[in-house]
Amino acid sequence: MAHFLDSNVIIGYIFDNADTQGKYAKIVMRIPEEKHSGQTVKNECFGFNENGRCQTVKSDITREFRRVIAALNRGSEVSEILEEMEKINTLDNKRCRTCIIIRDIAEKYNGDAIRLASVLRTSQRNFDAGCLRRRDDVDKKIIFHERDLSYTDIYNTLKEYIEDMDDIEVIIDAHHVGLDICNLVLVSGDKDVTSFEELIRKVTSITDVKRLSSFADYVGIQN
């Protein structure tokens, strides 16, 4: 059966997050079923000019790492850098999100700024390269479909039950694809979508709605 993937599946895969839903996203990407998605998901994940959630978050994290490398290169003390990051966090809630990671790494290389900068550099490159490889995978394995019809009746029905407009757009994107592809299954890690399984099956062309965590049963595919 062909799968239609919600944005949280793709985000989980791009950020290879083995602890939470990411490990199931990995399974979804590895099983041989055809994979589809829509423009709403693509825009949310990758944006029009690479400014979607994935690129923005990746840039935020690598940027903070590079700023620390630069500060070390200019001779700043690790303690000063961390203090500065924490100060920014206090002023601008949660702006330097990598602070905890960097603090942990810095503790291991206490006093060795050169080694610390080198580890930070390699880490941000590997992180960046990994995200890029999985993005290439997404482009290779998922067919993203454009939609030019609004399906107003379905939209209005869904609107009565589902609050988030983006969720509705994703379901309608899937419905649009489901008109051409038999037995299309919508896969989502979002309870706000999966809890409306019955309604979605009733009013759209979607055959089934699966929770991302349900892919835990696919033994042997994870690695």
Partner: protein, 292 residues
């Protein structure tokens, strides 16, 4: 005319520097010399109010503002791709004889510095650049334009190792004018990491191209910050141009970086400690992406 001193200084300089309009003296030489003349006269309390900015190839007189101030298009003196024109009569209206003598003396002094027996020295542009860059507002510009770019040319002929180039990159990082050119700082850091990747995984030509591309966008930002005697409307226009070029630059840098990272990934060895850090980065990234 708003600024007769500037017109007089330009014509006097051209008369001293290239009296017959010969091909060894072109716009680029003129641009540097008129800036040095402006600086030297300022030290002697005569302000030419030269409308200039620091740009791709050093100090650069702005043609629009020049014409507004003098009533003469700059291209009249420095036609595109041609030598500067020969000046027979210098326009001296509004200039006292004392001022005229001072300007004439300083113009000749500058020209003489780059000549031996009345002829320009071989590669005198290089010395002119060194002399103008002595007045550059940031050490970063000097290191980049006068050292780093030159060393990259030697990388192609294996005269210099990639480790030596990395030392220059470290120096550049120390001198980047963070407070003044803040808008480009993160792009600069991305460029720095990308060019280090290119040193290991690409050709010297690609390394040089990356350096030149960065210099072009850096100097677009530089001219918005480092200029004198330029009207506000021109600066507003520069700002638009910068942001337009900046978006294109970032997209291009992103593509080049992606290409290099794909090569890098094939080459990198598994390291348990780095993997653990990357795992943490991925966890954080997932959390940030989902909560948005």
């Amino acid at each position: 005319m708003l600024n007769p001193h500037l017109r007089f200084a330009v014509e006097t300089l051209l008369k001293a520097a290239n009296p017959r309009g010969e091909p060894y003296y072109r716009t680029t030489h003129f641009q540097k010399m008129v800036f040095l003349l402006y600086i030297n006269l300022k030290k002697k309390h005569l302000d030419l109010k030269l409308p200039y900015c620091w740009y791709h190839y050093g100090p650069y007189t702005n043609a629009i503002e020049f014409e507004r101030q003098t009533g003469v298009p700059l291209s009249y003196y420095t036609p595109d791709d041609e030598p500067t024109i020969a000046i027979d009569d210098v326009f001296h209206e509004g200039i006292s004889s004392k001022e005229a003598a001072l300007i004439d003396r300083e113009a000749r002094k500058i020209v003489k510095k780059y000549q031996t027996d009345g002829k320009y020295n071989f590669d005198y542009l290089n010395n002119l650049l060194d002399d103008t860059y002595a007045y550059a507002p940031f050490e970063f510009q000097r290191v980049f334009n006068r050292d780093f770019i030159k060393i990259l040319r030697r990388l192609a002929s294996y005269d210099v190792s990639k480790e030596e180039v990395e030392l220059y990159l470290d120096r550049l990082m120390k001198y980047y004018p963070y407070s003044e050119i803040h808008e480009l700082y993160d792009a600069y850091l991305e460029w720095d990491d990308t060019i280090r990747l290119a040193l290991n995984f690409s050709s010297s030509m690609e390394v040089e191209r990356l350096a030149k591309d960065f210099w072009m966008i850096f100097t677009e930002a530089l001219r918005m910050n480092e200029n004198e005697n330029i009207s506000e409307d021109i600066k507003v226009e520069w700002r638009f141009i910068f942001y337009d070029k900046y978006d294109k630059y970032l997209a291009d840098l992103g593509k080049k970086r992606a290409h290099l990272l794909r090569i890098y990934e094939k080459d990198f060895k598994t390291d348990g400690e780095i993997e653990m850090i990357v795992d943490e980065m991925n966890k954080l990234a997932y959390k940030m992406a989902i909560e948005r």
